[in-house]
């Protein structure tokens, strides 16, 4: 009985990430206790929300053997729409709703380009990001949208019972993602496609439908993140979200996602927390912010090595268990 539990634990990649996260917190905490102060932890959670939500969204695309480098562009569109509508006097709900719908719609377009036009994900979403950003500029002009009303910025800057509002959104997205992944048939189908596409087709799964869905979900997440972005900043510039793509993908992959169906929203969430914690910690320690990239890059490579070793370890463990 004991052996069985051990095997189960090790198999969940999330345990590894959680351990790394705890280790980082401890290390930074020892280096400077200010890191683990209540105020800083709250700040950390607030900072992690945008990256976290987007990483959860992109994880499904990656699990299906795809990639989306247009998430930054979608965030820009969503922020701009939310901000613009608030400035024009619309109700918060309408503004947020429009932004999120726009994000989902753009995500769906990505999915259609990939499945119906048969263009590979990397190029398709790259072209899409260019077109989206270009069009956004054309339509909105290079305006800098500022002075967003309080009821809106509350979504990004406010707190309820000491916990930042965006964090509630992150948890909601995480919960939705968790239920989707583990408790819905479609969630299983996403992982199946990445694991063995042929068997998936034989099981009657429509790869086209599922891929469009994953891109739509990714766009939805970017849409939500865009709202939070606008709310937190209190203003939106046209270059919002530029360069975020690879950070988002890194967070998901550090969290265990790969192109063969491995990955989970929880892992992506933890990956985002980890990256944010490192960023935050470095600021507190006064370390050059440029080191952040070194650590992120190093983490990605480390995660790949860990994956490889875990595979070998699990293999021998299981073979032993089978005898």
């Amino acid at each position: 009985m004991g052996k069985k539990i051990k095997i189960n634990l090790v198999q969940h990649e999330e345990i590894g990430i959680a351990a790394a996260l705890i280790a980082v917190v401890i290390i930074f905490g020892i280096a400077d206790p200010a890191f683990v102060s209540g105020a800083n932890l709250v700040r950390l959670f607030r900072q992690a929300c945008i990256l976290g939500i987007m990483a959860i969204g992109v994880v499904y695309v990656i699990m299906c053997n795809g990639i989306d480098v247009s998430v930054g562009a979608i965030l820009a569109v969503s922020s701009t729409i939310a901000a613009q509508m608030m400035i024009s006097g619309h109700h918060v709900v309408i503004a947020v709703g429009s932004a999120v719908v726009a994000g989902s719609f753009l995500g769906m377009l990505n999915g259609l380009i990939v499945t119906k036009l048969g263009i590979k994900e990397l190029i398709a979403t790259f072209a899409a990001s260019y077109i989206i950003r270009g069009l956004l500029l054309q339509i909105s002009g290079a305006k800098w949208l500022t002075n967003l009303p309080r009821e809106f910025t509350f979504l990004g800057q406010g707190s309820v019972a000491g916990i930042p509002v965006p964090f509630f959104l992150l948890l909601a997205v995480l919960a939705a993602g968790y239920i989707f992944s583990n408790y819905t048939p479609i969630g299983r189908q996403v992982k199946a496609i990445g694991g063995n596409a042929e068997a998936a087709v034989l099981s009657g799964i429509s790869i086209t439908k599922i891929k469009i869905l994953t891109f739509t979900v990714c766009g939805f997440a970017a849409g939500v993140a865009g709202v939070i972005y606008a709310a937190r900043m209190g203003s939106v510039q046209s270059n919002a979200g530029e360069g975020m793509e690879f950070e988002v993908i890194s967070a998901a992959m550090i969290g265990g996602a790969d192109f063969n169906g491995e990955g989970s929203p929880v892992g992506a969430f933890l990956g985002a927390l980890l990256l944010t914690a490192i960023k935050n910690g470095m600021v507190i320690l006064g370390v050059s912010s440029f080191m952040e990239g070194v650590v992120t890059g190093g983490l990605i490579l480390l995660a790949l090595f860990v994956n490889m070793f875990r595979g070998k370890y699990e293999n021998s463990l299981e073979v032993a268990g089978n005898e």
Binding site: K4, I7, N8, Q11, I179, N182, Y183, T184, P185, R188, K191, A192, G194, G195, N196, E198, A199, A200, L202, S203, G204, N260, G261, E262, G311, E314, N315, L317, E318, V319, G321, N322
Partner: protein, 496 residues
């Protein structure tokens, strides 16, 4: 036992091929029927018709007396027909439980939310009745092949399977695992499940099956209860009485062999093969005859440097050698033609020319490709091997399987090997192509090449080889001279 499945006058015709010819096949409830036949006899076509992958060109299917149409795999599943192919349809990144749960879309759990607690207890219940234990939360990729197979069986069980088709289930299992599998199969039988069991292994069939059906050339030759036929008779049915080989007519004539070219001593690589010893002389064709999973491919790839043996020795011209890679082996004048030309043979979408000359080019000093020479070498082998292609520039994908195989043989020959190892070289080829390759191998042997042919087909081994080593479960059982035995005898030795 009453009738469960009746296939009446089933014919399946593909352009130019009659895969099934007026076959009437019957299966009773709780019956374990062994389906035997050589490659190309029609076994897999019959299975595909039952499991809905193919629709019969003629004939009809009845289940429990009522006619049914099985047009898709889904239809088959609805009727309770489950199939376990040689290559499993499992998701390596999902757990056992999750894989099993996939087949539940047909069973009352297809709501929006998956109630894992209920699913788990449902699965555990069913596995218990079958006395199967599986680590439900382990991902498939960490499971042994034997356990993966049990997962496939579990999937079928979830479908309330009435007929379970198993295609060569024991090819990759140890003896212990086979026994475990048989226990499960017998429990299924007790519950009234019928099993169609495809295998080459006679001893298993005699252990397990209630009845035996033999197919040959698309026709059903016989279907008898187990006790009614001896092994010898079955062998004869499989290979066909009209295939009496008149050994005197063998076209090879008097053979003169040179020195020992390749010697293998106590070669061991477990699992795979153990204590393999044989020698091949110059000008000799040695056959490695054995069923699926016997170890032929493992031995061949070891001699070619793809695998490394754990112990034992390989000698070329009396000197010990070790092959560290295919390149190394080619340098030592050993060439290998793999059994799966799609996976490890042809370079898809590249030209015939490139496919033929890729190994030959490795020995050229300069990186620059002499296009003229390349063309000449290609044309030479296209001619000699009679590869049917409009030109060397043709994309190799557009060639027929036989011609692709010949191109690959050309690739090996272009490196001027002294030892040639072929793994099932005529698999999937028509009679004409088989003949051509046979003649080619004779000629190469006459010119002094040492040749090893791994095969599953007894007549081929007998016609082609000067000696045949029978391999089973990784060991050489005995080595025979084809001139001193018969097809039936040899088949018995291989399967028995």
């Amino acid at each position: 036992m009453d009738m469960l499945l009746e296939m009446k006058n089933i014919s399946k015709i593909f352009p130019g091929v009659r895969a099934l010819d007026n076959v009437t096949y019957v299966l009773r409830k709780g019956e374990i029927n062994a389906l035997l036949g050589e490659n190309g006899a029609g076994k897999s076509t019959l299975i595909k018709v039952i499991s809905g992958v193919h629709t019969p060109t003629q004939g009809s299917i009845y289940m429990e007396g009522k006619e049914v149409k099985i047009h898709t795999p889904f239809d088959a599943q609805q009727l309770g027909i489950g199939t376990i192919h040689q290559e499993f349809n499992l998701f390596p990144n999902l757990s056992v439980l999750q894989n099993i749960a996939f087949s539940l879309h047909l069973v009352p759990f297809s709501g929006r939310i998956l109630p894992w607690k209920k699913i788990r207890s449902h699965v555990e219940e069913i596995l218990d009745t079958m006395e199967i234990t599986l680590p439900l939360d382990t991902k498939i990729k960490y499971l042994t092949v034997a356990n993966q197979q049990l997962v496939e069986i579990a999937k079928a069980l979830m479908l309330n399977v009435r007929i379970l088709i198993m295609d060569e289930p024991t090819a990759a299992l140890t003896n212990l695992e086979v026994q475990n599998l048989f226990k499960v199969i017998r429990t299924l039988k007790q519950k009234g499940v019928s099993i169609i069991y495809i295998s080459h292994r006679m001893e298993e069939i005699f252990d397990l099956a209630d009845s035996i059906t033999v197919l040959r050339d698309g026709k059903l030759i016989c279907s008898k209860d187990r006790g009614e036929m001896s092994e010898k008779e079955i062998s004869r049915m499989i290979t066909g009485q009209d295939m009496q080989l008149n050994m005197k007519d063998r076209q090879r004539g008097v053979r003169r062999f040179g020195d020992v070219k390749l010697r293998v001593k106590d070669l061991t690589m477990v699992p795979g093969y153990s204590d393999i010893s044989f020698e091949v002389r110059k000008g000799e064709i040695l056959g490695l005859l054995g069923p699926l999973g016997a170890g032929k491919t493992e031995i061949g790839t070891t001699l070619f440097g793809i695998r490394q043996p754990q112990s034992g020795a390989i000698e070329l011209d009396g000197k010990p050698v070790s092959m560290k890679s295919p390149y190394d082996a080619l340098q030592k004048k050993i060439a290998y033609i793999s059994e799966d030309r799609k996976k490890t043979g042809i370079l898809t979408n590249m030209s015939v020319k490139e496919n033929v000359t890729i190994s030959w080019l490795l020995n050229k000093r300069s990186w620059r490709i002499n296009k003229k020479e390349q063309g000449e070498v290609t044309d030479q082998y296209i001619d000699v091997l009679r590869v049917k292609t409009p030109s060397g520039e043709q994309n190799i994908n557009y060639l027929s399987g036989g011609n692709q195989q010949k191109a690959i043989i050309g690739r090996s020959l272009a490196t001027d090997p002294e030892v040639l190892i072929l793994d099932q070289p005529t698999r999937g080829l028509d009679i004409g192509a088989k003949e051509e390759i046979r003649k080619l191998l004779y000629r190469l042997a006459d010119e002094g090449m040492a040749i090893i042919v791994a095969t599953m087909e007894v007549p081929e081994a007998m016609e082609l080889c000067d000696r045949v080593a029978v391999i089973k479960e990784g060991r050489i059982r005995e080595t025979v001279n084809p001139m001193q035995t018969t097809v039936e005898e040899l088949t018995e030795k291989m399967l028995g």
